[in-house]
């Protein structure tokens, strides 16, 4: 006998204070809070920020950390290939070289820094930040814009429009 009696619904919801904004079923995935959902999970956030810092640290020291399986096997770099090294260069103050290696290094460096700071925040502040980021994502679709821009940039680099791709 299935669901003889459905469990009573109407869970007690914890109120969030976030301004509602753009939402459309058609552009659902573009404006879906993504970064905010990561920020709501402390473990997820800490792992991403921590491992990203280790990865950039290894690249700064000239060591290889996480390697791209697509690039290793096919020889074709993926849209994010070179980001670790570019971010390491950016943090070292070699901004021009960093942008030459990967133009999105400054954006990603700021994002990783932001996640790292959020990861060590008290829980209440962390949730507050997550709500603000969710509102921003819903309003602007910023994560999907950056992701799509990276794909376009990748296409331009592969086609040679932006010169040769740096060796990674």
């Amino acid at each position: 006998m299935v669901g003889n009696e459905a469990p009573p619904p109407g869970q007690s919801l914890t109120p969030h204070k976030t301004r509602a904004s753009v939402s459309s079923r058609l552009a659902d995935w573009m404006f879906a809070p993504t970064l905010a959902l990561i920020m709501q999970n402390r473990w997820f956030l800490a792992l991403i920020a921590g491992l990203a810092i280790v990865q950039v640290g290894l690249a700064a020291a000239g060591w290889r950390g996480w390697q791209c399986p697509i690039h290793l096997i096919s020889g074709v770099p993926c849209p994010g290939c070179g980001l670790s090294r570019a971010m390491a260069l950016f943090i070292q103050g070699k901004w021009q070289t960093a942008i030459e290696v990967h133009a999105f290094a400054p954006i990603l460096a700021v994002a990783v820094g932001f996640l790292a700071i959020t990861a060590i925040m008290p829980r209440s502040l962390q949730h507050q930040a997550a709500r603000r980021v969710a509102a921003l994502e819903k309003r602007s679709g910023i994560v999907s814009v950056v992701v799509l821009a990276m794909f376009i940039y990748w296409g331009l680099r592969l086609s040679g429009v932006l010169g040769h791709m740096p060796v990674i």
Binding site: M1, P7, P9, G10, Q11, A36, N41, W66, P79
Partner: protein
């Protein structure tokens, strides 16, 4: 030609190929369960994000085995170099000495290429002979009342063990207990596991099977609320109220959504309505925070 170098190269090639296969499998799972944006982020981070996501969600999506295997593949190059590293250095030193005495790298490279390609093709054939995944899986016991087992876990407005509840509802649905209630109840398990996308799919399925299922509308509204999609949540709570005007939680939930959307007057009206129907939690909260009088 040094044998250790050949072994390392062969092993490394196999590790890299398997690493790529697992990344592609995991990306498909991430697109399916996490959504398009999470999948794309996994792709642009060369699988780095996918790897972390996989470990965070391994229990929920039953990814433990594949994640352990992937982790072993990532760690194994360090072990391979640790074990064979010194032997390789010694062999390379001997080789360099021999080459400088006998001359030429060309012969060495020819032999290396042949052996390396033989090794790769042999391994690929072996993989192709492996039995299909899941062929030895035991069939589910049809005489077990999975739904009853799942319902036994529902205590004080939630499942005492959401993972188990999800497993039981999966079994119930697989053994042909495909009812709107089953989907709604599995949706609640997903909800507790914070898998709102999956929860919404199940609630929607329940609504498709039973269009006047007011409770499923309310539950779907809750999931939309957690995903911060307030407009969709509001529409679902409204539909629930329309189908069942005496259902207090839907009023309270619609009040909360109204509050999120800065419709404070509407929020108070809904909290009061919920209280009249016996659920005063929302109104108490609103009064405590100075929202309603």
């Amino acid at each position: 030609m040094p044998t250790t170098t050949l072994i390392i190269t062969g092993v490394m090639s196999i590790i890299q190929i398997l690493g790529l296969i697992i990344l592609l499998v995991m990306l498909v799972k991430q697109f399916k369960h996490g959504g398009v944006l999470h999948g794309l982020i996994g792709l642009i981070t060369c699988g780095f994000y996918t790897f972390i996501w996989g470990w965070i969600k391994h229990k929920t999506f039953d990814l433990t085995k594949i994640m352990i295997f992937w982790t072993i593949l990532i760690v194994s190059p360090i072990v391979v170099f640790g074990v064979f590293g010194m032997a390789m250095v010694n062999e390379m030193m001997t080789l360099m000495t021999t080459l400088s005495e006998e001359g030429g790298f060309d012969k060495m490279m020819e032999g290396f290429d042949k052996k390396s390609s033989n090794l790769k093709s042999r391994k690929i054939k072996n993989i192709a002979k492996l039995p299909k995944k899941g062929s030895d899986k035991a069939p589910l016991a049809k005489d077990v009342d999975w739904s009853q087992k799942a319902m036994a876990l529902w205590k004080n407005g939630k499942y005492s063990d959401a993972n188990k509840a999800l497993e039981y509802w999966n079994n119930a649905i697989q053994t042909n207990h495909k009812s709107a209630e089953a989907y709604n109840n599995r949706g609640l398990a997903y909800y507790e596991l914070k898998l709102y996308r999956q929860a919404i799919k199940d609630y929607s399925q329940a609504i498709r099977m039973k269009s006047d299922y007011s409770v499923a509308y309310n539950n779907r509204g809750n999931a939309y609320y957690e995903m911060l999609k307030f407009e969709l949540a509001e529409a679902d709570f409204e539909k629930c109220i329309q189908l069942n005007p005496k259902y207090a939680p839907a009023f309270r939930n619609r009040g909360l959504v109204a509050f999120q959307m800065d419709k404070k007057v509407q929020a108070c009206v809904d909290f009061n309505e919920a209280c009249d129907l016996g659920d005063c939690e929302g109104l108490e909260w609103a009064k405590k925070n100075g929202l309603c009088k």
